[in-house]
């Protein structure tokens, strides 16, 4: 019996099964896209590229695609030219779901039946057709999270399921296929007419013209939060996410992937922060030692920052050191720089930041999202929107009146708009970061650096240098470009006045002024903007001590 690969929920699995086919959903991430990009282009939907890679890796002999989108249509085109797989079919799915569309789809089903029947040498088996219908997957009884949006790859789903605090259901088109079985098996022609209607009446995906019924997805009982997934170079789902972001009352986390195996760092930070924001009974840091102080350690990509509080919550010491290659060493250096405090003196130590899981002497870990919110609230209770621009991340966190996280967004894998971006540009300009901060205030001419990509921006900077523009004007152009990225994040997060900025880049006055101009509001910046996350972590450590006394 042949195994046929498919990607779309509108694929007539039951019809193919009636000719002896065994369905296999192509849904695996690919470590690289060398083969797929050789056939297509690097600016091509990452899911479609992963499908091409999977076809080759598994030596798939039968593939039934649906013209779901431009990318899958082109994937079909290039596979057809390759002459593989042996059986390759593209089903032309209508965009409508009315009677005329149903008649068209029936025609396509008849064409597929004829071609697959000829390929397998089998006749249509009504019993196998009936048996191939699977029951609807019921969601769990208790609260659960759902992945919605673009298809989530196998490993992403596994990672989400293993680290989320609640059961995770797959509501993407990889997991929400349901076609009810026929009530009776009439003649083949009549049956295909019914089947076309049943396929079309599934919960629509975004390529269909009428998508109002998708609302059902978000109104399921027990649904406690949404993880909204988008894929790089697939544009369909960003539109639905934007609409949801404005209207849903459910907690919402956006994840963008490129269909490579998920990177654990950013994924776990986002998931843990999301879980923290769900107000679920998640494991809180525990106080395990006796001591008169607590500490928070923010282990970032560039610096490790530490804050020590006494048990009344007063600041006792703080330090900022370079992280170096290992988070653990960075944390030890930070402690050493505190001047007289050792981990043993601490009743509790909460770690945050990228390296939070690798600090052996920490008694607990909380994500930097939640810690920044907490620290910001302590420093500035009026703060409602925290803009944090660090070495490799930029994020915007919206706070409620009590310092809780209402919403947050982070930059994706691209470094544009982060401290790393400014660092690279400073290197191109041959100035250090401090000098860059000063230069950005002395500009005279407005220059636009429009590239969204760090690499392109670097080449724009090189061109501007060659055109004899002053370094001050170029730096100002770069600051503007960071401000544009940041304003977009603020808008996506739904941020509003009560702005505060944290992170190392808050020390760069040029960037600060550019963001202020863009937002039309002043940014409040504390004396030590780098320490906000560590302060929040220390406050969580203090909570853990107080909850035990």
């Amino acid at each position: 019996m042949g195994t046929f690969g498919y990607t779309c929920k509108y694929t007539p699995l039951e019809l193919l099964s009636a000719f002896g086919g065994q369905p296999a959903l192509l849904n695996r991430e690919s470590p690289d896209f060398e083969y797929a990009e050789g056939l297509t282009h690097n600016h091509f939907c990452c899911h479609a590229k992963a499908v091409l890679e999977e076809c080759r890796r598994d030596g798939l002999q039968e593939l039934v695609l649906v013209n779901c989108c431009d990318s899958i249509r082109r994937a079909y085109d290039v596979l057809r030219v390759q002459g593989t797989p042996e059986f390759l079919f593209l089903l032309d799915l209508p965009h409508h779901d009315d009677g005329c569309a149903r008649a068209r789809l029936k025609g396509e089903l008849l064409r597929l039946a004829a071609e697959y029947g000829a390929y397998t040498g089998r006749e249509f088996d009504p019993a196998a057709f009936r048996a191939a219908f699977t029951p609807r997957r019921e969601p769990p009884d208790g609260p659960y999270l759902a992945v919605v949006g673009a298809r989530a790859g196998e490993r992403l789903l596994a990672a989400l399921r293993s680290s989320a605090p609640l059961p995770v259901e797959d509501f993407t088109c990889g997991g929400n296929r349901f076609v009810p079985p026929p009530e009776e098996l009439s003649g083949f022609d009549t049956l295909m007419d019914w089947y076309a209607g049943a396929l079309l009446f599934q919960l629509p995906c975004l390529r269909m013209d009428e998508i109002g019924r998708r609302e059902e997805l978000f109104q399921q009982p027990g649904l406690a939060g949404l993880i909204y997934h988008t894929v790089k170079f697939c544009d369909y789902y960003s539109f639905e996410y934007e609409a949801l972001r404005k209207h849903t009352r459910l907690p919402l986390l956006k994840l963008e992937t490129d269909f490579t195996p998920p990177a654990s760092g950013q994924l776990s930070t986002r998931l843990e922060a999301f879980a923290e924001g769900l107000s679920l009974p998640v494991a809180r840091p525990a106080a395990r030692r006796r001591g008169r102080y607590v500490a928070g350690i923010d282990s970032g990509s560039t610096t490790t920052n530490a804050v020590v509080l006494d048990l009344e919550g007063n600041l006792a010491a703080s330090a900022i050191v370079r992280t170096g290659p290992k988070a653990q060493e960075g944390a030890r250096k930070a402690f050493a720089a505190l001047g007289g405090f050792a981990p043993e003196d601490m009743a509790a130590i909460v770690a945050t930041g990228y390296g939070r899981a690798n600090i052996p002497f920490a008694t607990g870990a909380v994500t930097e999202i939640t810690c920044h919110a907490r620290g910001a609230h302590r420093l500035r209770p009026e703060a409602r929107t925290v803009i944090d621009i660090g070495g490799q991340d930029s994020k915007v966190i919206c706070l409620d009146g009590a310092g809780g996280v209402k919403n947050f967004v982070m930059n994706d894998k691209c470094a544009a708009g982060t401290g790393r971006f400014l660092e690279m540009m400073a290197r191109t300009l041959e100035v250090d970061l401090e000098e860059m901060g000063r230069l950005g205030l002395r500009w005279e001419k407005e220059l636009t650096i429009s590239s969204i990509c760090t690499v392109f921006a670097e080449s724009e900077v090189v061109s501007l240098i060659a055109d004899n523009h002053s370094a001050a004007d170029i730096v100002h152009g770069l600051n503007q470009s960071v401000a544009v990225k940041t304003a977009a994040l603020v808008s996506r997060a739904g941020g509003g006045p009560g702005y505060m900025m944290t992170g190392g880049v808050a020390r760069n006055q040029g960037v600060v002024e550019a963001i202020e101009a863009r937002l039309g509001e002043r940014l409040w910046i504390g004396e030590n903007p780098d320490l906000c996350g560590a302060l929040g972590a220390a406050l969580f450590a203090l909570d853990s001590v107080r909850s035990q006394t």
């Binding site: 297509t40 013209n67 990318s71 369909y236 429009s450 690499v455 304003a487 996506r492």
Partner: protein, 421 residues
């Protein structure tokens, strides 16, 4: 780009977020002025056909901004003869995007779109239009109409526009095949679109006016074919935007007297001036980055090469029978070079490259266009196997943010050296 244009763009950008009405007025006035300039004092060296077309499209863009209630927002592939028969002006996002970038006013609108969640990887023509809408500069049209051809962005952009404006929307679903059942499927939808337009506008669709519009389309297509025949043995050096104006004439304006006059002028000019090309003859596939000074320098000013045709302007030259308007419009969609798979698109360009004596092909991968990028390697191999050196050139039709100008220029110049060598 001239200093005046840049200053104008800066002025629009400064008004866009706080005073969208002023930005709209500035743009609409500028487009009307350009229209008047093209009609009465066209630039030296510009062909009469091109300046005429620009004198028609510019005020149309102005009208889309200033009197949107009389316009229907349509995608570039939507057959518009029904609209012309009912005196409804098409508002064409792709056209507006081209105009915005020509007036250096695109930046705030691209940013507005991204701030409203439009993905970075999205087609920038569509992104610009959404930015115009989100910023409030583009007011609500009468209704929104789109085909599923030629790309996914149509479904997304036009759905979002209709939702944002709260206006009715109609989609023409275009299947990939060309069977008689497919033809009937599309023709029936176009009939329903006529009824939809009657309902939205309160106007009656007169079958005789539709027949006359189709008759004008037929003349336009025939004259454009004559132009292409003449182009095989004629050299023309034109602005990069020339092909984009032809796109307007052969798509949303098809069915108007203006479009017919443009094609007739173009055919006459070309047939009257046969002569060998001094530089290399380039067949261009997909949109043209007309805003890019470096590309303009090489492609239309250097004398090293000329663009002999753009595949957007020969994808839909199907036969037209004015007495069967719906079937004729349906056939144009179904037989489009952009419909039915990459093979048809590449095959059509291969035929055109032979017919126009092209020396090479530039396959332009406009940022965000997955169907173009997905077929890039296939197109290159096929065209080169047939003897036409092909350059896959990555760029963007209207967003400089997605462009590495220096690298593009190097690639294009190296390609020309390859053709010349």
């Amino acid at each position: 780009m001239g200093a005046v244009v840049e200053r104008f763009g800066g002025l629009v950008a400064a008004q866009a977020s706080a005073h969208p009405g002023r930005a709209r007025w500035l743009l609409s006035s500028a487009y009307r002025l350009v229209g008047a300039q093209m009609r009465y004092i066209p630039p030296k060296g510009m062909s009469p056909a091109r300046s005429y077309m620009q004198s028609v499209t510019s005020p149309m863009m102005g009208k889309a901004l200033s009197r949107p209630g009389t316009c229907a927002c349509v995608n570039v592939f939507l057959p518009c003869e029904l609209l012309h028969a009912m005196d409804i002006t098409p508002m064409i996002p792709e056209g507006l995007s081209c105009y915005l970038v020509s007036t250096a006013a695109e930046r705030p609108f691209l940013q507005a779109a991204e701030e409203h969640g439009v993905p970075e990887s999205y087609c920038s023509y569509h992104k610009l239009l959404l930015g115009l809408a989100e910023s409030g500069v583009l007011p609500a049209p009468l209704c929104v109409l789109n085909t599923s051809l030629a790309c996914d962005a149509n479904q997304l952009t036009f759905r979002r526009l209709a939702e944002r404006y709260g206006v009715p929307r109609f989609t023409v679903d275009v299947p990939m095949g060309t069977s008689s059942a497919d033809l009937d499927y599309v023709a029936d939808q176009l009939r329903a679109m006529g009824a939809f337009l009657e309902k939205c506008s309160g106007r009656r669709l007169d079958p005789e006016r539709l027949r006359l519009a189709m008759e004008r389309s037929r003349r336009t297509v025939e004259d454009y074919r004559r132009y292409l025949d003449g182009r095989a043995s004629c050299s023309r050096t034109e602005e990069l935007s020339a092909e984009m104006f032809a796109v307007m004439a052969l798509h949303p304006l098809l069915g108007t007297e203006e479009s017919a006059r443009f094609a007739a002028l173009l055919a006459r000019e070309t047939i009257a001036r046969p002569g060998p090309s001094a530089g290399k003859r380039i067949l261009w596939m997909h949109t043209v980055p007309h805003w890019q000074a470096s590309m303009m320098e090489v492609l239309s000013k250097s004398g090293r090469c000329e663009i002999v045709a753009c595949d957007m302007n020969y994808e839909g030259l199907a036969e037209i029978d004015p007495d069967r308007p719906y079937e004729s419009m349906a056939r144009r969609l179904l037989e489009s070079g952009y419909n039915g798979g990459a093979e048809r698109r590449v095959r059509r360009s291969l035929d055109m490259a032979r017919r126009l004596n092209a020396d090479g092909v530039v396959y332009f991968c406009h940022w965000g266009c997955k169907q173009t990028s997905g077929a890039a390697q296939y197109a290159k191999r096929t065209l080169e196997d047939a003897g036409f050196p092909t350059l896959v050139l990555d760029g963007d039709g209207c967003d400089s943010g997605n462009v590495n100008d220096g690298q593009m220029l190097t690639r294009l110049q190296a390609f020309l050296e390859q053709l010349e060598g």
